[in-house]
Symmetry: C2
Subunit: 689 residues, 2 copies
């Protein structure tokens, strides 16, 4: 689908930030930057906690960027075509909060700065997405913001390819520190950005040469410029305290055909008389003496949190800088055809298209009829083939396991350097970078990202997955090869603890469907979950279709439900997930034949089950006789269902290399083992001897 054809060619509407037009006098610039410095130092002092060094050191960079280059409107913080500013070095949060206050963002008052790092305030220790307007992403864990920014810059190109230059044409700026660049995640992110030639991505590196332990030279000798250049980046240097040098570098970066790194040489804690330039300025209050001396040295004779009207006015004026540009955009947007406009708005709002549910029900009925015996990863592909046709805003991908994750469908041409009309990203062998980029794609808006790797390699991506959960982003992790059922690749590739460890993460929905029908239902739930990421844990091995009822109801939405009931009171209840539900059902058939009433509860999503009514939960958990849980993973968490003395059939250590059926035998995860364990418990002295 290509919208707004013809609008994509215009080039003159773009607001050009020409330095000469935006010159700020040296005095004004100094005052504006010092306002950031004092707000930051004083807020950290008031909180007796925080990081003054970065805001003070990067104040000049931020002043130049926000007052002369960034296209945004504090009165319309969600304006779709705004430039994105990603504050990757999130520990310096007071820089961002100072800017939001100074620029006049709604709801960020001086009292909010005074409440820095206090419980319930908008100004948390690190910038938290949704805590206040103007925070584009939650940062703090280093490298993540940079990874998000790559996703955002890619999202811009993807949306641009669909809606044209008139509607989508903005830049993504990042402020990153040494820590961001040292994290391995940064390599995955910059390699992806360089490869995809995301030329509208500009990283301002606060090159202050200091980390917590001391000089960067204690632990690193990397030539960052050469490193970025090796990944196809444009690289520039400037004095991070010289406003014209910063402006020149940004202007040059804007003209590059590649993403740009600007190394801004700065002095951490710039302005602090004795602590500037050292690790002492990094992560602790400067102290009253130091701040008093700083007031004197910088000629700033204003009380804490007091910004002289002239300086505040200058900042507020800067906040209005691109309002004309935004209005022009709105005029252009109003002029495009209603269908395109509606479609753009729908995607940006994040609403699913109208045909979604019907397409899904059709597919479900087909699965019911055809009863395919396929791996759930294959069922996921079939589901995606249907969903991708309707939900045109999905962007798929894989960390170099496309054929194994079954993440690609007929609709998803590859996105390639300079070509963004496709819908599939070859993320490369970069699980963490993929996850961080998917967060960025989701944060940007207009896109629903999903991406695949093996479940076991969620370990590599966990830092970014946690941020999907913390921010409540609709990101779908397609994690295949979800147990020892993957077979010969052995214990390094066999997840054992991963279902438990991902379920432990708040707000992460872990789905483990048992068959094609549940897989489709879980996909529906994942796409409908606007405020939570999802994991789809999918089998490598084939599984029969178990759900033969022709109901439109999404039973997986309950999290756990009776997939097989028994007449009268159950003497045994078996809980199982994914590939083990078939084992549970087979065991129940044998037990029923033995005259032991047995019910089976399929548990595709523990998190959703936890949210059900007490009555429903009780119906699944209470009574029901002897409790058994089957999952080819560790027991942790299952005592909630079966109790400490219940039976658990699963793993209690790492897996092994061998054909999958042999592994299931070896580790005793079989119908026979279930039946034997139940019989042994129900008849304490078995007759088999």
């Amino acid at each position: 689908m290509m919208f707004a054809a013809g609008l994509g060619t215009a080039g003159t509407h773009r607001f050009q930030a020409l330095p000469e037009q935006n010159m700020t006098s040296p005095d004004t610039h100094r005052d504006m930057a010092n306002a950031i410095r004092f707000l930051s130092a004083d807020a950290v002092e008031a909180a007796n906690s925080g990081h003054p060094g970065l805001p003070m050191g990067a104040a000049d960079i931020a002043t130049v960027l926000f007052s002369r280059f960034l296209t945004f409107d504090p009165r319309a913080p969600h304006w779709a075509d705004r430039d994105r500013f990603v504050f990757s070095a999130g520990h310096g949060s007071m820089l961002l909060y100072s800017l939001l206050y100074l620029l006049g963002y709604d709801g960020v008052g001086i009292d909010d700065l005074k409440a820095f790092r206090q419980l319930g305030s908008k100004t948390a220790g690190h910038p938290e997405y949704k805590h206040c307007e103007g925070i584009e992403t939650t940062t703090g864990p280093l490298g993540q913001g940079l990874g998000n920014a790559v996703g955002m810059a890619l999202a811009e190109r993807i949306m641009n390819a669909r809606f044209g230059d008139a509607i989508v044409d903005h830049r993504t700026y990042v402020l990153a520190g040494d820590g961001c660049l040292m994290e391995g995640l940064s390599q995955e992110s910059i390699a992806l950005a360089g490869h995809l030639r995301l030329s509208k991505l500009i990283v301002l590196w606060d090159d202050n040469g200091i980390t917590i332990d001391g000089d960067v030279a204690l632990s690193d000798s990397t030539d960052q410029m050469a490193r970025f250049a090796a990944s196809n980046w444009n690289t520039l240097r400037c004095d991070g305290h010289d406003q014209e040098a910063i402006a020149e570098a940004i202007t040059a970066a804007q003209g590059s055909d590649r993403p740009t790194l600007i190394a801004c040489k700065t002095n951490i804690g710039h302005g602090a008389p004795t602590k500037a330039g050292s690790a002492k300025a990094h992560g602790a209050p400067l102290g009253a003496d130091e701040i008093a001396q700083m007031r004197e040295a910088l000629g700033w004779d204003h009380e804490p949190f007091e910004i002289p009207a002239a300086i505040l006015d200058r900042w507020r004026l800067a906040g209005l800088r691109s309002s004309t540009h935004r209005k022009e955009w709105e005029r252009r947007f109003a002029e495009i055809d209603a269908e395109t406009r509606g479609e753009f708005e729908r995607r940006v709002r994040g609403d699913l298209p109208s045909g979604f549910t019907q397409a899904l029900q059709r597919c479900k009925r087909r699965f019911n009829e055809e009863r395919p015996e396929i791996a759930t990863r294959k069922a996921s592909e079939l589901a995606l083939e249907v969903l991708n046709a309707v939900v045109v805003e999905t962007i798929g991908g894989s960390a170099d396991l496309t054929g194994s994750n079954n993440t690609r469908t007929s609709q998803t041409d590859a996105i390639a350097p300079g070509e963004y009309a496709g819908r599939y990203i070859h993320y490369g062998i970069r699980e963490h970078g993929m996850a961080a980029a998917m967060n960025g794609l989701a944060l940007h808006g207009g896109i629903i990202p999903y991406g695949g790797t093996f479940l076991v390699f969620s370990d590599y991506a966990r830092g970014a997955m946690r941020l999907s959960a913390l921010m409540g982003l609709r990101v779908v992790y397609v994690l295949t090869h979800d147990s020892i059922g993957l077979g010969e690749d052995g214990p390094t590739h066999q997840p054992v603890e991963h279902l438990a460890s991902l379920r432990a993460m708040p707000n992460m929905q872990v789905f483990r469907p048992a068959d094609a029908v549940e897989t489709l239902e879980c996909w529906q739930l994942a796409l409908e979950s606007r405020d939570a990421p999802s994991v789809l844990a999918l089998s490598r091995q084939s599984l029969p279709t178990l759900r033969l009822d022709q109901h439109d109801e999404n039973k997986s939405a309950r999290g756990a439900y009776e997939i097989s009931s028994t007449s009268g009171d159950a003497e045994v209840t078996i809980y199982a997930t994914g590939s083990e539900v078939q084992i549970a059902l087979a065991a129940s058939t044998i037990l029923e034949a033995d005259g032991i009433p047995t019910r089976v509860v399929s548990v595709p999503c523990v998190e959703l089950f936890d949210r059900q009514s007490p009555e429903y939960r009780s119906a699944m958990l209470d009574n029901g006789g002897l409790k058994v849980a089957i999952e080819a993973g560790v027991r942790q968490g299952w005592d909630h269902f079966v109790g400490r003395n219940g039976i658990f059939i699963g793993m209690d250590g790492f897996g092994a290399s061998g054909p999958a059926p042999e592994l299931y035998e070896h580790f005793g995860i079989t119908t026979e083992a279930v039946v034997a364990a139940v019989r042994a418990r129900l008849a304490p002295e078995p007759e088999e001897s």
Copy 2:
């Protein structure tokens, strides 16, 4: 402590692998390499699973390395001064297994190759440490081997600084693929290696331009040579199928004063007539037809798994190549003084020194007497101050949080480029690289590594931590700031799910000590655990000394124990860990005053508790009245202790930014909350209304 002074100056004893001395005729080389190719292709075919492409493509590189350069002895695979060969691209495991068989490693017979990827065989899908001799580390998860190798190469320098050139003087070689280099972990590892100038580390990159999804160009445009050079590496290129070019490159690398990357241009699946050079050769059997054609094309008219005697002899001869060198080493080793020899052997065996227990008991008595009220991270530092004085083989470090993790003591001077006498590594902001390097330090032998970061950032290191656990390595993770108790930094920095998610990992011991005494006990257990890694989850905030009994017994070794008993039968049992044990004790005091007999069980290590006798476990878990668990993390796992209907006082979502005491109040993790919850349960209709 510096041993063998004076022995470090000799330079002539080193076996110099001069290509001209080791020339292999082109025909012989071809035969030797083809032996690898056919063993690999045939084994994958027999298993109907595996990766033929890499072994076939890298056969020439491996042949040159093993037959002309590597210093090793298959008859003494644990010889301490052997060169290390790290097979980072572990999916190509048949390359390594072929080599082990061809070189005559004890216990690797042709039947083992025929059993490739079968359950119980030594030749697992990926190389598994300890499955057979000659496997230096478990690989498969990409990038990990490279990270391990950095640790091994550093270990060599550290041991060399202590024992001199005559005893420790070997190289570390890595075979890595594109996947290894794309993982972010590789950046952390190469930056660390380049910074520390580990000149005896040589990485052979199997530069075949192919990944699973297709050409590397689909997802990457990185100039790897420039990237490594940016991190202070020597970089070389060669034709990976030209034995003399490979030999020249290795010889040049051996002379470098920096670590070396050799880009060996290869053809994946080299020799396969139609599939070579494409992703088709990567990860699936070639098929009978292709292999038959290959036999014809390469003139290899031998049956599968049949290696002609002449070729096998040539390989076995290569296996004997450095036996003289090893014997010379043994002669030199026998000549050094007995004390140094004994100390070297002790460290390499991994035995703790004799003074260990006494030093520990002395410190424990001191804690008992002084009853310090300190954070457990500080208690850990005090414990380390004592332990580092005795256990001289510890090598500490931190991922740039030295002052926060309290990992440095008076004994641990920093290790710096070219200076390896110290005992402290500034790992930089590289959690994953640190963990992988620590695995390498432990694998090398002679060293017990510990390293710190915040508990929440274990997410970044999890890939390597899992390998510590899978390999059973004595690596100690010092993970501080272990709950919302860290305060203002907020939810990005507050672990909530991490205790549960790390406990879910098999063979990972998760310790969460409650006070200084338990901290010391947990350190003892961690250091004594030769076959398992440990996590020490430590508080940022101060905690009182709770263990006032003057027993030498290590109570933490039980995993869970009564820290406060009650007279008669308990009506309430409270389980707690770490900083929440004080809350449990305070609540029990109030409840006891109410006439409610209450006992408190401290649970410093769930994993150790699980290993206790049924009787002991029952004494802790059964009876005991109403059950309560307190932990400032998620509930997952605690139902094992308290049951589904027991009381849990902890977190059910992410944390928040604010002062720690306020957060504990806000999230209801307080003595009052515990008492109120117990009273409410014991008296269903409370009188407070």
